[in-house]
Symmetry: D2
Subunit: 249 residues, 4 copies
């Protein structure tokens, strides 16, 4: 059995770092791509878990094509690809539709939905040549998504556009690629997300009986992704919404 | 009571022309915007129904801003705006995700979803200054949508992105603007659409008892839009899926 | 053209009375069935609008069969049937799942969902023998539903069961009967509903510019039902969610 | 750490048997309740995996109350309850709404949705007194569901009613109980399901690269259930739709 190769596109101290650590611990070759791969959180991953870092603006077709070439050369053909880009430009939050900046809306759409298209496309091209693994899977493509994929909230039109675009893409890809042996999943995280800080402590503490677990813990999100990748193709899930126990929905 | 002003963005011989005719017959001032407003179907509307034509590439922020300025100057502040742009570039149909042209996917997203954002934004800015009409409505914004807004079909990823982006935008705008008195609606047409040809005959015949009504008739779609605009705000519908009786779903 | 025959099952001073009045004014023969057809609101309808009253416990198969026989004899074969039964027994509200009374949950399910099955079944049996009208419609079956059809709220499990059961029935019937020329619709009213009081005044006042229209007005709900019945079969809507402009969703 | 106690309500050679085996192998005390607990498939489970069998008609309030009392006495308070009753009476399949037998429809509703209410209620009453486990979970309640929970298919009205009723109940319970530490999940299996035959062979063979895995394998469904039970409460999933890779949807 050949080794799994995981590529995580979009890199920060939250879900991406948790995925990188868990995938590496599970015996995969792991690459992580980010606009600024030199941020400390990612450098740590290289040292502690042998994660390979790549610089990539995933909203650019050529950059994404090059990324996959590099990963194939360095690590092998990916069997697990996670698109983990939120894509919101900083000034976009909580603006009414009348006040919103149209160019920021456009950038959000490009950063999030279009980059998902580009990453999904490269993954599909490569994975369909893979041999099925023991679970019948040629590869798994996971799109991290947000509450806005489920519901368009007020003063959040651009983000709703981007998230639902990504969900639509994922659905279309799932219907097309699953019968070809490629597992596609959309995972809206319906919650604020905590993360591991650079000093190794958690940005929010989690324990069985405290109230600190009212945010989604990225380590558990990573676990859910690994479970998706290992599902047997007789029972694939396309969409899983993850939310903390106390979340209103 | 002041006269309704309707603006239809996206212009062709189908839904747009049906809307223009019905709105004009209902006593509204009607404008229609299209990239090529000189096509015969639109010239006819000017002659037969006094519909004003505007040239506009609705995926360009400045062009859309200018369009609304011109409409306000010529016809008055819009009370009914229909975004009726499909946005698919010709080569995009029935391409698998691996074969799809990324730049066409991007253009589809821009033409459809981003133009919806721009048109919705200008409409919202103007309408919120309107006085409520007899039904309590300051204005109505309707987004024509497609089956892909409901379901991402295989070999159709880019269109699924665009349609679900538009649906997400519409939802967000509805939650934000309805409490401000602006009615926002998303109307997926889950069907092929027939249209009126330039010689005045119908592209598909409709009659009560024939099998020719297995496509959505744009005249009836226009009627549904007018009913939406005239709903009292105590009972607004946000989404109506229109499909012919024989359609599979 | 023969006259429309409308049957409203479930009778009170709200949606049922509004429907009865509007349908009668629109030239239909109208019957209304209720467990206690002698309540003043219904007696008034007989006097003012010639509405025929029927006693019927719609959760009993024989009672529903008999009702339709009587209606056919008195008014003719129905072309429009509205199932307007909420079905909640009084003590059921706001009980947690652990505290809820199981027998009340069962009665709610029977009163609401099972009666919808019985009414829908009788309507389907008769309507499929009708000739299509000018819109290609052999008959229209409308199920009034509630927010709980869209979302299962806490401390409301039995009602969520009943409403989603009704929605599932309506969907199944729509997919089966629409290609046979029978229009089936599910209409969740996502709001509190106002009604006309016995002295003729409104339980809540409605006006274009006041804040009194924050509840759904049954007169406008009736209007939406009539529009559904008159939709041409080239563009039928299956589901319309009606909610007031200020409603949170 | 005290031992998990699992109760499976509804017992056959498919999902229930797979769950019983997996839960027992994972170190849980396991009980299984069925109308006819003497069927060979369940007797085997007792011998091979120490699974305790209970006779119970889960559509009867007293029977369900008694079942939980017996389980608490024999095994302890349940921490994982699976409602795995389909509920369709034999003659109900593929009948149009006009031809369907109303009393069968009623039985289906009672067997499936009402029994889910009864089982969910007893589970909730007991579990809320549990201490949270290492994942912060006081207990997990899983409802097996079917495609009809997602879509009302033609000639299947009664089953659509029952499945969507169950889904509505699950949603309501999830919103109510999750903030109390009880994980509630709805799992529609969008597929035909294979099972293990009494001679120990599989009713359909599964292997990584054959075409025999086009039905859902109950062993993998059981695995998904166990993963749900072990999710940390910072990231609970409410609904997972499981379908084979080749399934149309």
């Amino acid at each position: 059995m050949t080794k799994d190769v995981a590529l995580i596109v979009g890199g920060g101290p939250g879900i991406s770092a948790s995925c990188a650590r868990l995938f590496a611990k599970s015996g995969m070759h792991v690459g992580i791509a980010a606009r600024t791969p030199d941020k400390p959180a990612l450098q740590n991953l290289e040292q502690t878990h042998g994660v390979r870092r790549y610089a990539c603006d995933a909203s650019k077709p050529e950059a994404v094509a090059l990324l996959f070439q590099d990963v194939v050369r360095d690590l092998g053909v990916p069997t697990l690809v996670v698109h983990n880009i939120d894509g919101r430009v900083p000034g976009i939050f909580r603006k009414g539709i009348a006040e919103a900046d149209a160019s920021m809306a456009f950038e959000t759409l490009r950063n999030s939905a279009f980059s998902a298209f580009l990453v999904g496309q490269q993954a599909a091209r490569l994975m369909r040549e893979n041999k099925p693994d023991a679970n019948g899977t040629k590869g798994t493509i996971i799109f991290t998504n947000a509450s806005a994929a489920l519901k368009g909230f007020p003063t959040s039109g651009a983000f709703a556009m981007a998230c639902q675009a990504k969900a639509g893409l994922a659905q279309s890809m799932a219907r097309e690629l699953m019968p070809q042996g490629i597992h596609v999943a959309n995972v809206p995280i319906d919650a604020a997300i905590g993360w591991t800080q650079e000093d190794g402590t958690r940005a929010h503490r989690l324990a069985g009986t405290t109230v600190d677990d009212n945010m989604a813990d990225p380590d558990y999100i990573a676990e859910a992704y690994l479970q998706l990748h290992r599902q047997h193709r007789s029972t694939w899930a396309f969409e899983i919404v993850l939310r903390p126990w106390v979340e209103k929905w």
